[in-house]
């Protein structure tokens, strides 16, 4: 337990650093009055949406917490003491009564939900305060503009990581030390925290994703198509809603997504550590994930703070260069931290886990580059789509779909390789009394932790995206000088890249985290049915319950994505109605003599988006529970495993299949949506930049090829910003909901 002191140190350091970053950004020059004017409208819109969104989520969360408490309290048998007799792990007397377990799980759920909401709220607050400051900095230098945008984004990144670490550590400490429960069972009591985080993430990402694309599509259709006014024209009442949308999707939504990844991964890894702790008696196996995260935070502070050192006072420098250098520093320091943490904490065979962590760090780096290859105009895939736009929108869509489907290959191979390699390395570790299967799964957990060490940095780069995007809009609308536009354009283009690579990173981390959460779910099942934690409980794919559950899990992913995409359309309809109404009732708007009511458009978009998120959200929460209950109560067979006969396993078997196969399908479909959307977007930008030509004649803006590319971009919008990111969250929600609701499926 030598490094435990690092957890509060790193947590406090991260929170203080976030506070300093916020202070540093807020004290800067806010720009001209015109800039501040636009910025304050965005700010008000974003805050109004967040208040409304978190209000809805809070209501849903409280109801859900009560339901969780009652269900777990009513159907659970309480948590039993975990014993090791030198051979097998067995279970002793009940340590935590069933109603106590229900109460603690419900409280953990609320704390997880609150931490996630708090991180999202403060991060957004600073993010929408940073845009005019970035626009102002851009009138002076590239270096200053990068610094402001990145630091504004980093507030969100650090808060997310800090609140996840502090939240999980504190609740673990209270549920073990303060309540006097054995440390080996405390991880099972805090699974509610992960579910709370998933719950908020689902609605934040789904609501945010629907909002951002409904505003985008609605503003375009009613402005460009109907009224014939250009994009971002201030006469369009939906224009501010569109700028607000960038923040709620990429900042608040993705922040909640990665908050969930880290929290769920931490808790899952702690549960896996229980099986080793029960045998060895070393608490390090449970605490290790928190310590490694602490090292990641320290590494990220150094890396992030070094970025301005690499930025030159040269407006022609590629802004990606300093960001990449900072990422290398974070990765290098993470390796050092990983070395120290594994060597000090993980016993004699620590080096196997060190290698596992290296696999994870390498996977993170690989995903950053895989995503760039498929979505950047510098490579073959995007150029093929641009070429296809010469023969019209149909071939643009067909070629894009082909490219998008093909991008799943690299993703699946990279995740598969990382899993198998880290499992194989972990299973080499020889810990007396612990089987290779247990150390192997722990190895995949270490790989996931290694990958997520850089989460705060990646998230800072991600939130950099909407800040620079907004800064570009503010610069344009406020009539700032040409040189500033040049800088914000360069930053905006880099922001598109960082947003895309964060999605790749989020998919990969979801894939790795899901595998270990599944193992944690099985440990929970073992604990419930009294099966030794250190023996493998097979979930047989040729079992009809597992297969049918898997088919339904895969279907859930398709259906959820379909509903999310459909929701964008229905919410966009509401905005269009409102903008039409404003045009009709106040002719001064079109004449440019009176200002449209932006706030009302923002509010209507928010209400429509939040209404539209309810159905897919309830489906995601309700279907796993329904499947578990239906299979449990309509089927009655035995599972024979060697000498053991397990009664009525259909419920938890079907849920297992649903969870695992839903995860695989979710990874593939999310990758498809994210990449095809990014590729269409950049094919359009590639054409706009004048890179496409036929017989020596450039096919730029306004040509038929460009129009076809715009169709592709519009189709890709709800794919990459609504369906894809919501699927990452769905994958992890499946894992956390089954963890918490497991007692419902087990007789």
């Amino acid at each position: 337990m030598e490094l435990v002191w690092l957890i509060p140190v790193a947590g406090t350091a991260a929170a203080l650093y976030a506070a300093w970053l916020a202070y540093d950004v807020l004290r800067r020059d806010q720009g001209t009055e015109a800039m501040q004017d636009v910025s304050s409208m965005i700010f008000e819109g974003a805050m109004a949406f967040l208040r409304r969104q978190y209000g809805t989520i809070a209501l849903l969360a409280v109801v859900t917490a009560v339901i969780i408490g009652v269900i777990v309290g009513a159907v659970s048998e309480g948590v039993k003491e975990i014993l090791y007799d030198g051979d097998a792990i067995t279970y002793g007397s009940v340590e935590v009564s069933q109603w106590q377990e229900g109460l603690l799980t419900a409280i953990a759920f609320l704390v997880g939900a609150a931490c996630s909401g708090l991180a999202g709220y403060i991060g957004m607050y600073i993010s929408v305060r940073s845009n005019s400051r970035t626009a102002s900095a851009a009138t002076r230098s590239l270096k200053e503009a990068i610094t402001v945008a990145l630091r504004g984004g980093a507030v969100s990144g650090f808060l997310v990581v800090a609140l996840s670490l502090i939240g999980v550590s504190t609740i673990f400490l209270i549920y073990s030390e303060a309540l006097g429960n054995p440390k080996a069972i405390a991880p099972f009591l805090i699974v509610g925290f992960g579910f709370g985080a998933s719950f908020v993430a689902l609605f934040a990402q789904l609501g945010g994703g629907i909002y951002t694309k409904a505003a985008d599509v609605g503003a375009d259709l009613v402005g460009k198509v109907e009224a014939g006014i250009p994009e971002d024209d201030p006469r369009n009442a939906a224009v501010i809603a569109d700028l607000v949308g960038d923040n709620v999707g990429d900042c608040a939504g993705r922040g909640a997504d990665l908050f969930e990844s880290m929290s769920a991964e931490n808790i899952g890894a702690m549960i896996l550590g229980v099986a080793i702790y029960a045998v060895t008696g070393d608490l390090e196996w449970i605490i290790f994930p928190l310590v490694l995260r602490s090292f990641g935070i320290l590494a990220t502070i150094v890396g992030l703070h070094s970025v301005p050192l690499f930025a030159k006072d040269d407006a022609n420098q590629d802004p990606m260069t300093p960001l990449n250098r900072g990422y290398y520093i974070v990765s290098a320091l993470s390796v050092v931290g990983l070395f120290i943490a594994t060597k000090v904490m993980l016993g004699d065979e620590w080096y196997w886990f060190f290698f596992c962590g290296l696999v994870g760090i390498a996977t993170g780096i690989a995903f950053v580059y895989i995503t760039q290859y498929y979505t950047s105009g510098s490579w073959r895939p995007v150029r093929e789509i641009a070429d296809a736009s010469l023969t019209g929108p149909a071939t643009t869509i067909i070629t894009g779909t082909a490219v998008g489907l093909e991008t799943t290959a690299a993703t699946a191979l990279a995740i598969g390789t990382a899993l198998v390699a880290s499992f194989a390395l972990g299973s080499e570790a020889d810990i007396p009394g612990v089987g290779g299967f247990t150390t192997g799964v722990f190895g995949t957990a270490v790989a996931t932790m290694g990958m997520l060490m850089s989460a705060a940095y990646v998230l800072s780069m991600d939130t950099f995206g909407p800040i620079t995007d907004n800064a570009g809009g503010i610069t344009e609308m406020s009539g700032a000088p040409e040189s500033a536009r040049h800088i914000t354009d360069a930053l905006d283009s880099v922001g598109n890249t960082t947003k895309a690579l964060t999605k790749g990173y989020a998919v990969a981390s979801a894939g790795l985290a899901a595998f270990l959460l599944f193992s944690a779910y099985l440990d929970k099942v073992k604990e419930r049915i009294g099966y030794p934690l250190n023996e493998e409980l097979p979930i047989d794919l040729s079992n009809v319950d597992v297969f049918a559950g898997g088919l339904i899990g895969g279907m859930l992913v398709f259906l959820f994505a379909g509903l999310a995409i459909r929701a964008v359309g229905s919410a966009a309809g509401d905005i269009i109605e409102e903008v039409r109404r404003q045009f009709r009732e106040d002719p001064g708007i079109m004449a440019g003599t009176s200002r449209p009511d932006y706030g009302r458009a923002v509010d209507i978009t928010a209400r429509a988006a939040l209404r539209a998120m309810i159905l897919p959200g309830l489906l995601a929460v309700g279907l796993p529970i329904t499947v578990g209950l239906v299979f449990r109560f309509t089927r009655s067979e035995e599972l024979v495993l060697g000498d053991r006969v397990i009664d009525d396993p259909s419920g938890w078997l079907a849920v297992s299949g649903m969870l695992m196969i839903g995860t695989i399908v979710g990874i593939l479909l999310a990758t498809f949506f994210n990449n095809v959307g990014g590729a269409w977007d950049n094919a359009k930008k590639y054409i706009e930049a004048g890179n496409l030509s036929v017989d020596g004649k450039t096919q730029g803006k306004g040509t038929d090829a460009h129009k076809a590319a715009v169709v592709g971009d519009t189709v890709g919008d709800p794919f990459k910003d609504t369906a894809g990111p919501s699927l990452h969250v769905l994958i992890k929600l499946l894992a956390t909901i089954t963890l918490v609701m497991a007692p419902l499926f087990i007789p």
Copy 2:
């Protein structure tokens, strides 16, 4: 063995009936000279393509057969006698040496490939001979036109079913009786037949699917867009290739698809029967699938022959009515046949399996209606897409995608319910010494057989599609009277429905067949590793090899679909080049004074399509083998199951995950592609029929809404006619290839 005599009777009856149908169609009036002229060009093009395609496939098949023979001969340990000691199933001495097994498997592969090819060739021959005869009949009466088109299609349907039944029965008889091998091991020797059928089906469906859409897209782009001439204009050299394409995709391709479903399902069910036969000693359990298929054939002959009785001499009758009545007769007689077969053959508890078969028959009927709901203009989904086309091509694609994703829900729930219900019913059957797991899996096999009893009828309706489609084209190009057009239009529209519902039927049968083929694969693994056939061998989803294999299996489905869609684009490019060349080199074509060289365009399309199918085809064959070998040779862990320790299972575990999860992903993605393509197609037709209006003004042909709908239709073409159907075949190929290549993955 009381009903065994039925197999040769039904096989002969089916072949004779097919011969009579062919005679009946060919003796009919071929229509006017103009009709015969167009028809003979289609005939020559289709036959030229088939010769070239089957030439390529034959070459690939012979090479593959040699490879199979060598591999199985070199790595297998031979097939051992199966013994039952009153408790467990064990294995005795080697009955078939390893090289003999290799030789027999290779021969079975070639016979399966040859039967599939023969059925496709003869079926196509009659199909493209029926089109002008249908056109001619349409000048006289609807009743006669339906009769000709359905009988032309039924030649293909009956040949496919008859050759599958005769092929499997004959090779089973030779490999057991003639060669003196125990009947219990013969099913393992004939798995090559299923692989041969899959192999031909893959290339037939893929090559045919690429051909048909490349010709369609190429003819449209170069004709309508570039040269500005209408669709189906005889000046367009690609026009005949387009008409040929309808036949090679829907007739030859789908025929090979269902030939494979039936053959693989027969063989898989026979392997599952071995486990019961080994205990009970009743050969009925192995022979039963062949007998049930025989009843299906007899039922179909009656049903098909009754269709003209329901057709009225009234041109306004909906042609779907007599087709549906015929289908009900087939279903009703199938129930009778099922009753007799189960009662006579399946012991005292036969009724459980009777219920399983009923589940299968009901599932077949359900899929016919589910598909109609999602792809017909009479219901909500297609109308929503039509409404979305009012706001342009982007919203048409977005709404269509949402609808397509949602259609997977009904499909997955129906397949899942059928599997669980038939398994639960089957496992109730109490056969002393045989576990509930074994009888349950056999129950799912009976459900699959029940569903496929109507295969010949469904396939006849499917081939009805291209015949009526061609008849419509011939009627138009030959200037036949308006009344004939009215009839062929009605038939063509019904043909679109029957083509769509056959795809739904094919997906469902692929899903059910895959589950039982997977069980057969596990039986083969058990036989190889010496594991009792009547005990469950768990494929643990939380095992990292299974999970990673599953991830790669799911990815294979996405990648394969992407490559298939891409192939359409590249083949279309070749046709466009050729048509352009003909316009350029002979100005008389455009002036209408000289006739374009249709044959050359057909030939170039054929060559391009066959070249384009090689890469995805090799991926489908090569990746499962590569995964099995890589996991086998790079990983070395033990699998502990109770007292048994199995060495080095990673190869076959990874392949198991790949097979099962690839199947689930394949079902979902194929459903998406088939339904979204059908829905876009019918949304366009819905608008063309004048059903869409805004403010009381009809938005028909030529409006912006129609143009947007055409974009949707064009995007959907390669989805529904290339990617979707090829995925059905991929699913089953995965199953048969792993069955045959299993020894490669097992140390």
